[in-house]
């Protein structure tokens, strides 16, 4: 049995952890949730009930234990098992994250690759849904330099609310810290968490 321990966590973390626990639960296993305050208990129970996840509640000394069985149906009308009967429920919305790990696109000729990359980044601004974030690391950070053909496009995307993250270690490595004209510096933790939270990660 998998256990999610939300004791000591403030709202809305108990729901986030419960949601994650259900999403990652292997087929046929049940989930135990440990909760230590009544507000969180009420919210988590309501969350489970509204998603038709049946559970058993037990008081155990200073905390509560919820045991969620799998195989229930999700809320009326939504795809079966939104929460409980499939391990990877469909995500809503259409947002995606773009990774630029080099300043060229494809392998073969680098001059061609630079042109392709410029074209790719420019086309991002014209798509129906622009990305929620663009992550630049290794050679990708050079795309934010003033002489890059797409630095202006990256700045435009940033103005439109796209989070442009430049890997700080990479800026240091190439000695170009402080001279980029788009994006904000981010560490690997930020890069990894944006990737982990993304619905789709696109790498040209």
């Amino acid at each position: 049995m998998k256990t999610v321990d939300v004791r000591g966590l403030q709202c809305p973390l108990p729901i986030i952890e419960t949601r994650k626990g259900l999403r990652e639960l292997p087929e046929g296993e049940s989930l135990k949730i440990l909760i230590d305050n009544s507000a969180s208990l009420g919210n988590v129970c309501k969350f489970l009930e509204d998603n038709n996840c049946s559970f058993v509640k037990m008081e155990s000394g200073s905390h509560f234990e919820l045991t969620v069985a799998r195989g229930a149906m999700a809320i009326t009308g939504s795809p079966a098992g939104e929460y409980c009967s499939t391990s990877r429920p469909p995500l809503s919305g259409g947002k995606y994250v773009v990774v630029l790990s080099t300043d060229t696109m494809g392998t073969g000729d680098d001059n061609l690759g630079r042109k392709l990359m410029a074209s790719f980044v420019n086309i991002l601004t014209e798509l129906d849904g622009i990305p929620s974030a663009v992550l630049c690391y290794n050679g990708g950070v050079r795309l934010a330099l003033p002489d890059s053909p797409v630095a202006g496009t990256l700045a435009e995307l940033e103005n439109r609310g796209v989070e442009i993250i430049l890997c700080g270690t990479c800026l240091d490595f190439y000695g170009i810290k402080g001279i980029t004209i788009a994006g904000k510096t981010g560490d690997m933790y930020r890069i990894a968490s944006v990737m982990a939270a993304a619905q789709r990660v696109i790498r040209p």
Binding site: P12, K46, G77, E163
Partner: protein, 351 residues
């Protein structure tokens, strides 16, 4: 060398903005026990749970009187001041009034925050009031461990053109002027889940005055409206339906959302206030036609300085929407319909 640390107001609070409101269920219970007001010049009081009280001075003039204050919703003191002021002024706009004068209400921990933060909060409030053409003519500050700020606002309204919660008519279309999701995005941002773009959009929405939307509303002859704050879109719509004795149908798929609000909700980022608002509304609501759990919870996300929800006659919908978009509300959308009462006050649906 002394390091100058940037003041971060969010260190003081777990639930900022309108989500810090007392639970609507508790509030309702307590208000019921208060003595009934019998002064005939009191045109609107707490009995219809309206946005502000209205007092008739003479046949041409009534005062719209309201207050609102809350703990920080953002790190920056100046932005917090702007948002709190925009939120306080909004109640007057929602009543069809024109805010005129205001008083500052502030709680501030002078031992733990630099006095510059106090000055910045006030500067934000005064700048926003100036943008609205309102004079702040006084105020009151007390020491408290958690900073809180807002305004008490007085506005003018013609007694014949008061816009209330209680005037919904079957057939009216409901237009919402700002996207929903401030509570969710702020919570997600505090956990490092929200993108900086989404946080920025949420802050911009909260700072935006409802004055222009109110002007459009007046020209469209709207009789019923409210502003969306702590009880969430669903909670406020329910209060209007109940005050008017009708049923309100909201299509959550048509409601504009801030950035990735849906994604944050889907990952479980559902603030406690949404559960409180849901618990308040559920007995009088029908959720049979809402298939998307996330959208249902977003309907109860507590908003800070949210948009106006206005009831517009069907033939005026197109021109009103067009005008709202021209007046700086590009997100304005038709999100629902008023029906004869059919058993429940609130009906939520999604495609």
């Amino acid at each position: 060398m002394v390091m100058q640390l940037k003041t971060d107001l969010l260190q003081f609070t777990e639930s900022g903005g309108c989500s810090a409101k007392l639970s609507p269920a508790i509030l309702e219970e307590v208000l019921k026990a208060l003595p009934h007001i019998s002064d005939p010049d009191v045109l609107v009081d707490i009995s219809t749970h309206d946005d502000a009280g209205v007092y008739r001075v003479n046949d041409k003039l009534a005062l719209v009187f309201t207050t609102d204050f809350f703990p920080p919703v953002c790190s920056d003191p100046y932005e917090f001041g702007q948002i709190a002021a925009a939120n306080s002024l909004s109640d007057v706009y929602a009543m069809g009034g024109r805010p005129v004068i205001a008083l500052n209400i502030m709680m501030f921990p002078s031992a733990s925050l630099p006095i510059e933060a106090y000055a910045e909060i006030l500067r934000g409030g005064h700048d926003k009031a100036a943008e609205a053409g309102v004079s702040i003519i006084g105020g009151h500050t007390i020491e408290d461990t958690v900073p809180k700020y807002g305004l008490a606002v007085t506005g003018f309204v013609n007694p014949g053109s008061v816009i209330t919660n209680a005037a919904l008519k079957p057939g009216n279309r409901l237009i919402l002027t700002k996207p929903v999701g401030t509570g969710t995005v702020l919570a997600a941002s505090r956990l490092g889940l929200a993108s900086s773009g989404d946080l920025k959009q949420a802050l911009e929405m909260m700072k935006r005055l409802n004055n222009k939307a109110a002007a459009v509303m007046a020209s469209a002859g709207v009789k019923a409206a409210t502003d969306i704050t702590g009880f969430g879109l669903g909670g406020h719509a329910l209060k209007m339906a109940r005050a008017s004795g009708v049923s309100v149908q909201i299509n959550m798929s048509a409601v504009p959302l801030i950035g990735d609000t849906l994604l944050y909700t889907d990952s479980g980022c559902i603030p406690g206030a949404a559960f409180r608002n849901l618990a308040f509304a559920e007995p009088e609501s029908c959720f049979n036609d809402i298939s998307d759990y996330n959208l249902k919870m977003i309907a109860f996300d507590a908003q800070t300085s949210g948009g106006l929800l206005m009831a517009v006659a069907e033939e005026k919908v197109a021109v009103t929407l067009e005008e709202l978009r021209l007046q700086g509300h590009p997100e304005a959308a038709v999100i629902g319909l008023v029906n004869e009462f059919s058993g429940k006050y609130l009906y939520l649906s999604s495609v």
